[in-house]
């Protein structure tokens, strides 16, 4: 219904198809890892034993966990490759690539915006003129880098303990890797399924969800309201205006909503299970 009413509106493509595809890989692998990881973290709790049985036993969940881990490493490196290609296409230096308006590298302005946001929260200032990337989005982005490095490396130790100890790693490090892997994952899962969900989808002006990561398109109205600085940038750059167009196709919007809601609901269920386990049963 909404889509038809807005047919005359202009839409801007914030995410290209490649990035959207990578995010779908992130979502599916992340949820798989979270679920199968929680099964073993909370193995003493009945509901996780039941889920494990329903999925075909610990061997199956373990296999899924490892496949999803491989997918994680894949999208991680695909994204690094994407960055290099993008830099090459733009034909700019590494420095300007890293400090430019499109860069996700945190800078002074992010810190200013963080302060300004706080002021806005308490009613002592206007809503900051957010640009292409807000500071919380940059945090999310780097959290993935940090997570993949920490959870990924500790996970590899747990996957190939004999190999790593053969290289000289003390056996106790397997125990330490277990703690780090498990708690860092708890942090990642807890963060994504609460703060990321709220920041991106559940905050009142986006509720119930923002489909831009799946359709790639955002209406200019919304963009102007939400990210005035990016809006201005588009208006001033004819190169970027090439990305303006009509609304996303109906089937894509619909698919985006179905997939998005599934992911959101799964995430919420998982976070509720974690809270339940942590509060009532876990020691």
């Amino acid at each position: 219904m909404n889509e038809q009413l807005n047919t005359n509106k202009k839409y801007y493509e914030r995410f290209d198809a490649y990035s959207r595809f990578l995010h779908i890989l992130v979502i599916t692998s992340f949820i798989s890892l979270a679920l199968t990881g929680m099964i073993i973290k909370f193995s003493g709790i009945g509901i996780f034993q039941t889920i494990s049985k329903m999925m075909g036993g610990y061997a199956v969940t373990g296999f899924i966990h490892r496949v999803a881990a491989v997918v994680t490493f894949i999208y991680f490196f695909l994204h690094i490759g994407y960055l290099f290609r993008k830099k090459k296409k733009k034909g700019i230096s590494y420095t300007s690539f890293l400090i430019g308006e499109n860069s996700l590298v945190p800078n002074k302005n992010d810190f200013k915006e963080l302060i300004a946001t706080m002021k806005w929260f308490v009613g002592k200032g206007p809503r900051p003129q957010y640009g292409r990337w807000t500071y919380w989005e940059k945090f999310d982005y780097w959290a993935v880098f940090w997570g993949v490095a920490v959870i990924g490396s500790s996970g590899l130790i747990l996957w190939f303990p004999e190999f790593f100890t053969n290289l000289g790693l003390p056996g106790t490090f397997i125990n330490i890797a277990t703690i780090i892997h498990s708690d860092e994952a708890l942090l990642a899962v807890g963060f994504i399924f609460t703060y990321h969900f709220f920041n991106t989808h559940f905050r009142p002006d986006k509720f119930p969800m923002d489909t831009v990561i799946f359709t790639g398109k955002v209406s200019l109205e919304e963009l102007k309201e939400d990210r005035p600085r990016e809006y201005e940038m588009i208006m001033q750059d004819p190169e970027l205006q090439k990305k303006l167009g009509g609304p996303p196709p109906v089937f894509l919007s619909r698919a985006a909503r179905i997939f998005g809601f599934t992911a959101l609901i799964t995430g919420i269920i998982l976070i509720l299970l974690i809270i339940y386990s942590m509060i009532f049963l876990y020691q």
């Binding site: 073993i40 190999f163 100890t165 703690i179």
Partner: protein, 663 residues
């Protein structure tokens, strides 16, 4: 008057002679009362001391030393060092002649130095009359005198037939022994009463008092007119005259064990079968007709085929009409003494004698006239049939099982599914344990009873009947009471393997169960086990994941400090390699029972954990506040937005304009 004179005369002679003799003896004792007087014989030092006092009290006092040592001339002393052996036959001609042909003398001639000579029983210088209460040969002392050699555990007992080894204890329990020891009847038979004192011959010797042909004469020395007592069996016949047809005493009254009585075949079976061969023969018990029919063909195929009816139904009497009237229950202990003794101890027996009708008696398991050997495949006591036999009562709905204890439900069903049951019933392994192998056939007792074969203190030995190798390993393991001295309960076989449900150890059930079993006592290590990978996947149903015994061993569990332990420094890599083929020295450093809650034991884990907690709490707190503030602010904004909806429409217009302007 003449009488008195002669008495005086005789007394005078007696005293003079006595004086003269004791004077001779005094000469001997001049030397032999010296306690240090010794000589060397066959390389050994032998005392030549003689206690003058005890000799003076002996029966030989009158005959003086030279009465026996006739080769000593008191007027020509000292006598030669080596004297001739005293010949008792000089006076005691017949006893010595008897001794010379006796079993004892024969043995001595063969060189068996254990065999007694005169002095072994009568002693040397302190010989007392057999009527003297202090004499070794006094009737009350005879059993212990003979028993010095003829009792269990002596060297002699190893030389005689197995059934003669326990003669002393058998005798003590017999009616004769009881008469002597308990009732002090000195007319009761002792060893010498039947075997004679000196003429002791084997029963195979035709002149022996205990020869089958002579035994009746021997027994009737005391048991006169015994025929009168035995009239119902022998029907007045004189059995001495027909020893080949009629039993002699010992056929029924086992020698030494004399007590139980069973009669022989003088009452032919066809007499019984005249009545009991009729199918309609019944009697009324408690108002109900009970069949008295006996299937004689079946009986003839039973294990008792060679026995006649009266062997078991002993209580028949010619004075009754019919002869078997009120003869009562058969006493199986006539022959099966050991089994019945066991049964009397067993719970079955106890209950039976308390009048519990549900408690089984001999015939309930063995049947009466159809009793068969346990080796016969159709016998209810044949190994394969035992579970069903016991299951007749020990099964749901069959009074006993449920009445006693609810935990005993499903015994038979569980047994059938157990490794023993499957071995027996599916694979047909007759060496498999059935009910009776663990509970014993006749002496089954509840496990609380310390005499029970399934009592925790005895169960390992019970299982060791078959599983000896395992038992030996277990005996030296940390769980053995020989190794660990503790007040706490140590596990025994059935604590881990269970009893009737005993299962294959490589199957899921056992591997799933065992953690709980070990955890019953090892609570803390079991908790930490579940904190680590092996425990976690086990909880998710992994069968392969290492269980307690995969690392610690099963029956051979030893502390890691013991070099033989599977967890010792030298063995641990190999132990881990059973699952982790590339296990190495560093790999085995993995803490399989680690917990991050113990700072002193595992500081690295402890601090890592708290660092992670700090990171999590920090991150969540910051974004928590951030989100709450944002949420409240956004709600306010949204309200404002509704009011200023118009502004959105205006916005749309400006966008158009902006777009056109930049275009």
């Amino acid at each position: 008057m003449r009488k008195i004179t002669s008495v005086l005369f005789l007394t005078a002679i007696f005293f003079t002679s006595a004086f003269a003799q004791s004077k001779d003896d005094q000469v001997c004792l001049d030397c032999h009362s010296d306690k240090t007087l010794t000589t060397t014989r066959n390389g050994k030092q032998v005392s030549l001391f003689i206690n003058g006092k005890s000799f003076a009290g002996s029966i030989h006092e009158e005959i003086s030393c030279t009465g026996c040592h006739s080769d000593v001339d008191p007027s020509n002393l000292p006598h030669p060092e080596k004297l001739n052996k005293v010949n008792c036959a000089t006076c005691h001609e017949t006893p010595v002649a008897h001794y010379e042909r006796s079993l004892h003398a024969e043995a001595l001639k063969k060189g068996l130095t254990l065999a007694p000579t005169c002095v072994s029983c009568h002693s040397k210088h302190e010989i007392l009359s057999s009527k003297n209460l202090n004499s070794k040969t006094y009737v009350m002392n005879i059993p212990s005198l003979c028993g010095q050699c003829h009792k269990e555990g002596t060297q002699v007992s190893t030389l005689v037939n197995p059934d003669e080894r326990k003669v002393l204890s058998d005798y003590s329990e017999s009616i004769h022994g009881e008469g002597l020891f308990k009732r002090g009847l000195i007319v009761t038979a002792v060893c010498t009463s039947c075997h004679t004192s000196h003429d002791i011959l084997p029963h195979t010797n035709s002149v022996s008092t205990i020869n089958r042909n002579n035994i009746t004469t021997t027994c009737t020395q005391c048991h006169r007119q015994i025929e009168q007592v035995h009239i119902k069996v022998i029907r007045g016949a004189l059995w001495e005259k027909q020893p080949h047809k009629i039993p002699v005493c010992i056929d029924c009254h086992a020698p030494h064990k004399v007590r139980k009585v069973f009669y022989d075949d003088s009452f032919p079976d066809d007499k019984c079968m005249k009545c009991h061969g009729q199918k309609e023969l019944t009697k009324i018990v408690d108002g109900k007709p009970v069949s008295l029919y006996v299937n004689y063909d079946q009986f003839k195929n039973s294990a008792h085929t060679n026995n006649s009816c009266i062997k078991c139904h002993t209580n028949i009497s010619n004075s009754k009409k019919p002869v078997c009237l009120n003869s009562g229950k058969v006493d199986c202990s006539i022959c099966h003494t050991a089994q019945v003794d066991d049964y009397n101890i067993s719970l079955h027996g106890q209950k039976h004698y308390q009048g519990d009708k549900t408690a089984p008696y001999c015939v309930d398991c063995h049947t009466s006239h159809n009793a068969q050997s346990k080796k016969s495949t159709t016998s209810p006591t044949f190994a394969r049939n035992v579970p069903e036999l016991c299951g007749k009562c020990h099964r749901e709905g069959k009074n006993i099982a449920t009445a006693l204890d609810e935990s005993k439900l499903g015994i038979v069903a569980n047994y059938r599914e157990s490794i023993h049951g499957k071995g027996l019933l599916q694979s047909g392994l007759l060496v498999t344990a059935t009910c009776v192998n663990c509970h014993s056939s006749h002496r089954e007792l509840p496990k609380k009873d310390p005499r029970s074969t399934v009592n925790p203190n005895n169960i390992a030995t019970t299982c060791a009947q078959c599983h000896l190798g395992v038992y030996e390993e277990f005996k030296s393991s940390i769980h053995s009471p020989d190794v660990t001295k503790t007040d706490q309960k140590l596990p025994v076989c059935n604590d881990c393997h269970r009893s009737h449900e005993i299962n294959r150890v490589d199957l899921n059930d056992f591997r799933t169960q065992i953690i709980n079993q070990c955890g019953k006592c090892h609570e803390k290590v079991s908790e930490t086990y579940f904190d680590t990978f092996h425990g976690k996947v086990s909880k998710l149903g992994s069968i392969r994941a290492a269980r307690c015994y995969d690392c610690h061993g099963a029956h051979n569990i030893l502390p890691a400090s013991n070099p033989k332990s599977k967890l010792s420094h030298n063995n641990i890599i190999e132990t881990c390699q059973t699952c982790h083929p590339n296990s190495n020295r560093k790999f085995v450093g993995y803490l399989t029972h680690a917990t991050h809650h113990n700072r002193d034991k595992y500081p690295y884990l402890y601090y890592t954990f708290w660092a992670m907690v700090f990171l999590l709490v920090g991150t969540f707190s910051f974004f928590g506040i951030h989100t709450i503030m944002w949420f409240t602010k956004s709600l306010k904004e949204k309200k404002r937005h509704k009011i200023e909806k118009k502004k959105v429409i205006e916005n749309a217009q400006t966008i158009e304009e902006d777009y056109e302007r930049h275009d």
